[in-house]
């Protein structure tokens, strides 16, 4: 098992490098950089006093170096103006827009981002599991049809539109502002039980909104997997032996169907994380989503780059956890074989 975990983590390292390179490439795509654009703007307005300062800053942030050098300096594998000082050394870069280190700009938003994504995954599991079992064991019942229908709607409604609709409905029905992390009166208040409850209440809507399409997909898959298993002969054998229906279900087919169910969560995580970014923008949640949007719009490259990297790492971590879970459940994977899917 330890061997498996180590191997799995070691294979993540090259992946991380490829991803960081891709991300750096993408954030460097727009022409120029934040400072040189400012220089151009200042030049066109005829001002020259602060240009020298900006030129100095360009040197300071190594923006005058060639592309590969800049990438390596960003990662921390190349000696920059301040020696080895990059992501690997714990320096997350500088946000030009806020004139602060990236760490200070997005530091407060990171815990909520992680909590929100974690809550969404839990939500997907907790909701889709019983419904999937119900739909499979009572195939073609009214409940099954109802959930299938809801599932299709859930799959088809993009999550940010769902967020918009929810915002509207909650506003009309309860006069409640679901946007933001807490009710407006608690902002700047010290932490209390009421404030905590308000935060929890405000987390419910985004969790449901982000998780809906994933839940719908998981229900569909669990239902299909379980249905496949339920028609196999060992189930008939179990029934012939006189096993009780509930015990029979838990003992054999459910375990078989659980495997792809857990493997699928790994495939689901990228789309959940994507969803959390845009839903946060719509619902105005203080996660990395809105910061990413503004950073992209103002070409605040290191801020945007770090957020993209953070989101990607979050996804990778999620996939790692789902892989490890799978290995715990399925000895075939642990021992180096392939997963039966």
């Amino acid at each position: 098992m330890i061997y498996y975990i180590v191997r799995r983590i070691v294979t993540m390292i090259p992946t991380l490098f490829v991803i960081s390179f891709l991300i750096f490439f993408i954030i460097e795509l727009p022409a120029g950089d934040y400072i040189s654009n400012q220089v151009a703007a200042l030049k066109s307005s005829g001002e020259s006093a602060s240009i020298a300062k900006l030129e100095f800053m360009r040197k300071e942030f190594a923006l005058d170096r060639p592309f590969f050098e800049r990438y390596l300096i960003w990662v921390g594998l190349w000696s920059g103006p301040h020696g080895f000082d990059g992501l690997l050394q714990g320096n997350w870069g500088w946000s030009f827009e806020f004139a602060k280190p990236v760490e200070e700009v997005i530091g407060p938003t990171l815990p909520l981002t992680v909590i929100l994504n974690f809550a969404t995954i839990l939500f997907v599991y907790v909701v889709s599991f019983p419904i999937g079992i119900y739909s499979a064991t009572r195939q073609y019942s009214w409940g099954d049809y109802g959930f299938t229908f809801l599932g299709y709607i859930g799959l088809a409604t993009p999550n940010f539109l769902l967020g918009l609709i929810m915002l509207y409905l909650f506003n009309i029905w309860f006069g409640l502002s679901v946007g933001g992390l807490m009710a407006p009166e608690y902002i700047d208040q010290p932490w209390s039980v009421a404030k905590g409850l308000s935060v929890l209440a405000h987390l419910i809507v985004p969790t449901v909104v982000i998780g809906t399409s994933g839940t719908a997909g998981m229900i569909r898959r669990l239902r299909a997997n379980l249905l496949d298993e339920l028609h196999k002969q060992y189930v008939t054998t179990g029934r012939a032996k006189g096993l009780k229906e509930g015990r029979l279900l838990v003992k054999y087919p459910l375990r078989m169907a659980l495997n792809p169910f857990i493997a699928d969560i790994g495939n689901l995580i990228p789309s959940l994380v994507s969803g959390s970014v845009i839903v946060s923008v719509v619902l105005n949640l203080p996660t990395v989503g809105p910061v990413l949007l503004s950073a992209l719009q103002s070409q605040d490259q290191y801020l945007a780059g770090f957020i993209l990297l953070f989101v990607a790492v979050l996804t990778l971590m999620g996939m790692l956890v789902s892989d490890l879970l799978l290995a715990v459940l399925d000895p075939r994977i642990r021992l180096g074989g392939r997963a039966a899917s």
Binding site: I27, L164, L316
Partner: protein, 391 residues
């Protein structure tokens, strides 16, 4: 073994039926069977697809929606950027057939407008005195048909001097329904062009990975894995933020489709690869290789026809995510911008929740988006089932 031969020798001599043998009489096929066995693969797929009622209806709905693409100018009563400064944020005008118990055909009531001085906004109320029958096949707003020649023919237009805002108007008094119809043009084609790009990339990478195997295969596999583990939307956002602001709408549009296609191919490449791997082992593929066919010919002539249907099915299933991607990007101001009109651009007006609560019809684009995405999903399901007709 010997025992049976002995037995045969002991029994009667070899018997041959004198009547001429015609295999057709013993294995006579019913006309249906004959039709089935002689039908081409595509024909059988079509039969199988037809049995999937929801998929067929979804196809019909999609065709209706796609009619807006070439004929948006004719179908829409206004042009998407016509401003009616007298009707800012006008609510949708409901369609009526009967006026005071009398049938007049489809018409709308005119609107009385007044300013509510306390909240400083226009208030529109239907005016029962003004019956404005809708005109059909009529002359209305001027437009450039396909950007080629000037025309003013519309399928239906408002009564002379009247208004026809079936889905309300926005902040600048632009008709929402016309916006939706014109918006279909970009929103619906973004998916098609994007998928075309994704198919080309997916076929290329999946094809070489699946056919040649070895190091190439594992390298491409790694790449696919990495691409699939990346959250799509933030990358789309970053890439479309990189599109220069100075580009013309047409270039932005193509830039967007390329961005959408660029991140979508791994799923398709994976499907192509696994299908190729299994088909490569089939006898007919081996025969082709032994007869000296070059890889290109084996893939193109012998293997590709075997999984075209699968590609079409999975491509259909990935169109909705592209449509949603475009909508999300335009909604966030990172994609298309006015004067281009797409559903995401229209939704952009609904970004502010306080505006939406007062003018809920600004969320109208949500409805066609959901319908189209649902229809594509059903159609894709039907196609996927039909893709393996011999099962």
């Amino acid at each position: 073994m010997t025992g049976t031969r002995m037995e045969n020798e002991n029994t009667v001599e070899h018997y041959v039926d004198p009547a001429p043998f015609n295999p057709a009489t013993t294995e006579a096929l019913t006309p249906e069977q004959e039709r089935y066995y002689q039908a081409s693969q595509w024909k059988i797929m079509w039969w199988k697809f037809k049995r999937h009622k929801i998929a067929v209806w979804s196809g019909v709905v999609l065709i209706l929606f796609y009619l807006c693409v070439p004929f948006a100018e004719v179908i829409a009563p206004y042009t998407p950027n016509t401003r009616d400064s007298q009707h800012l944020y006008a609510p949708p005008q409901p369609l009526h057939l009967f006026h005071e118990g009398k049938f007049v055909g489809p018409f709308v009531y005119g609107m009385k407008s007044e300013i509510d001085m306390t909240v400083m906004k226009w208030v529109f109320t239907p005016d029962p005195a003004k019956v404005q029958p809708i005109r059909f096949f009529c002359r209305g707003d001027d437009y450039m048909f396909w950007g080629l020649f000037k025309a003013d023919f519309h399928l239906f237009c408002p009564a002379k001097g009247g208004t026809l805002f079936l889905a309300g108007t926005d902040r600048l008094g632009r008709d929402q329904l016309s916006g939706l119809i014109y918006g279909a043009r970009l929103s619906l084609t973004v998916g098609l062009v994007g998928v075309a790009i994704s198919i080309v990339l997916g076929l290329f990478f999946g094809g070489i990975a699946g056919y040649f195997g070895g190091i190439l295969d594992s390298a491409i596999q790694r790449l696919i894995e990495i691409m699939r583990s990346l959250p799509e939307l933030p990358l789309w956002m970053a890439l479309s933020a990189a599109l220069p602001v100075t580009w013309s709408p047409v270039w932005i549009y193509f830039g967007l489709t390329i961005i959408l296609g660029l991140l979508d191919w791994p799923g398709l490449a994976r499907a192509v690869r696994s299908k190729l791997l299994s088909l490569r082992e089939e006898e007919y593929a081996k025969a082709a290789v032994l007869m000296g066919a070059k890889p290109g010919r084996v893939i193109g002539r012998h293997l590709l026809p075997g999984f075209t249907s699968h590609i079409i099915a999975s491509a259909t299933l990935s169109i909705p995510s592209m449509i949603l991607g475009e909508t999300a990007l335009s909604f966030l101001n990172l994609g298309l911008r006015r004067p281009s009109v797409s559903w995401g651009v229209l939704l952009n007006e609904a970004q502010n929740i306080s505006v939406v609560t007062v003018y809920p019809w600004l969320m109208a684009p949500v409805i066609p988006i959901i319908i189209v995405v649902l229809a594509f999903n059903f159609l894709g399901d039907g196609l996927r089932d039909a893709a393996d007709p011999y099962k």
